[in-house]
Symmetry: C2
Subunit: 128 residues, 2 copies
Amino acid sequence: MLKARDELTCQVRDVLNRVGDKWTLSVVNELGAGPRRFNEVRRAVPGISQRMLTRTLRVLERDGLVVRSIYAEVPPRVEYELTPLGRTLLERVSGLIDWAVEHHEDVESARGRYDARHPGDASRDFAE
Amino acid sequence: MLKARDELTCQVRDVLNRVGDKWTLSVVNELGAGPRRFNEVRRAVPGISQRMLTRTLRVLERDGLVVRSIYAEVPPRVEYELTPLGRTLLERVSGLIDWAVEHHEDVESARGRYDARHPGDASRDFAE
DNA sequence: CTGCATCCTATACGATACTG
DNA sequence: CAGTATCGTATAGGATGCAG
């Protein structure tokens, strides 16, 4: 029996939460271009802290989306790379990123129109 | 000149954050099946609080992804529906949802393997 | 039925300092 | 270079009560 496609199960939601956090999409997107060292990703994702990059990569590794290769050199070198599973996710993620690039101006103008139509709502959270 | 496709700008990140929050994907997915009243969506998205549904719908409306129609009846009726722009987002969102449905078991087994290989990390956050 | 306001908690995230 | 540990803050989100 197939799972209900129209219903987002806990487990599906769990996966989507992963993707929805602040940095996962950016990191996956960067690794999509090829294997990267820790600090290469760090530089390619402006604003990410060392802590969050470490955590994001650990979670991706744990979920089987990224492989971590340690090279016992001096200085130590660690490379991260998408797994085949990770690459299947990248395809879908790219779809979202493309949408955002194509339509974020539409979204912004819609916001402008909404805010003009609802001037009293400046106190509401999304306005700030 | 085209925007750098490999770089996630602030504005793109902004759009992705929207989609990445706890409920937006579920709500958009539900509205993808057709116009829905407030409490219809509420019932279709288990676990969502009234507050968060209201907020999620307001943000979607503000961003031009959803239209809100009020019918002056007794009792009052309000219907939400995806806009054409919202429907273009739905396509990409569906891609992600499909991925989650297809692969969440892969992810879970990968997690199990990781946790078995890293028994000492039970104290780390993702384990809980 | 639909929605706003208030209070409260959990947690995601950032800054900083320290280690093999 | 590639992390870990600790701390402080901001924010998302839940519970509850009231209103058109």
